[in-house]
Symmetry: C2
Subunit: 183 residues, 2 copies
DNA sequence: CCCGAATGAGACAATCATGTCTCGCCACAG
DNA sequence: CTGTGGCGAGACATGATTGTCTCATTCGGG
């Protein structure tokens, strides 16, 4: 009988990533619960978005841990990271575009930690000669976020097959569109 | 004394791309006009977004024309396209995330035309051996949109220098992050 | 079996954005 | 100089969303 808070959050993320202006009532309906119950668990819309933000940060951090970025070649680490992040891609796509989160007085410090870890990985790849040094780690980090979001939308809308999600993102991010003659 | 409709649209685009939920009053204020005047020119919020959509489509199409994609190597055409699109990047970033535009009954057919032209360019590049064939033209098109939007945000937030906008996008999209030994 | 906790449905007021209106002002053309 | 058209400010009603509350119901543990 008790509501599964985690499940509600995941349903809300799926809905909001498609329709960011969805009503609290729509969120509740999509989760199969009443609006009153939704309010019992999340004080209001802000609290719901905040909870989604924290869930997204947790999942991203878990993906970073699971990817073991410091082991082996940086390229392989990036592949593992994208693979680990795929289930949370829709949620992250929503959070990245929810710029309301980034205009308030105090931004959740979790994003800073995530940015630092991802940037550090790109920097390590550059120092080890795997990655180009003319693209800044900050930009590569942003581009990774952007491509994950774009990929999530493209899959949701059927423009890209779900099974190709990881491959398309990683291959584009690592190798680009240009064909290399020796390959 | 007469309001410059085009200028209002550009100001609105700049504001809405940062804060998608901005009020009609905020849009009016940011354009330096009264809310009543804004309503005289755009019947309502929907009409405003619709006008922004058509402006974005016009600018994108103008950029496609100016880029002369069918001339010379596909890679050079892509560089010209990104250069031409830069001024409209913020507007496009807003429109792409305004998924309200794509859930209604009839989606503006302009997007289909744009997608077709961009996809065709990537396909030509593949057929001429310039681009990889394991990344679909549809995905490359989506990725281009995504990177343009990501780049626009990164510049707005100061995470990437404005002068690097074109270079970062084109180099990542074409060459990827991996360092090629022979280069 | 019984009781309590949690839920769903709905009523309710408050808030906010919207759309429309009026009124006074000002610039510019005639 | 005068009239007219466009504008800004603001009032107003409306509709939608939100947040809170009550009440009946149901599930599950003791």
């Amino acid at each position: 009988m008790t509501v599964d808070r985690e499940q509600v959050l995941r349903t809300a993320a799926a809905l909001l990533s498609r329709k960011a202006t969805a009503t609290m009532d729509e969120v509740a309906k999509s989760a199969g619960i009443g609006r009153a119950t939704l309010h019992r668990h999340f004080a209001g819309r802000d609290a719901l978005v905040k909870a989604l933000e924290e869930l997204g940060i947790r999942e991203f951090e878990a993906a970073l841990d699971a990817a073991r970025l410091d082991e082996g070649p940086a390229e392989d680490g990036l592949r593992r990271l994208v693979a680990e992040i795929e289930p949370a891609a829709g949620l992250l796509a929503f959070l990245v575009t929810e710029n309301q989160l980034f205009e308030g007085a105090h931004v959740n410090e979790g994003w800073g930690r995530l940015d630092a870890r991802v940037s550090a990985h790109f920097r390590r790849g550059q120092q080890q000669g795997e990655f180009r040094i003319d693209l800044t780690p900050a930009w590569l980090t942003e581009a990774l976020y952007g491509l994950i979001g774009t990929g999530a939308w493209a899959v949701q809308d059927g423009r890209v097959a779900a099974k190709d999600f990881q491959y398309m993102i990683v291959e584009l991010l690592l190798g680009g569109a240009r064909r290399n003659v020796e390959q």
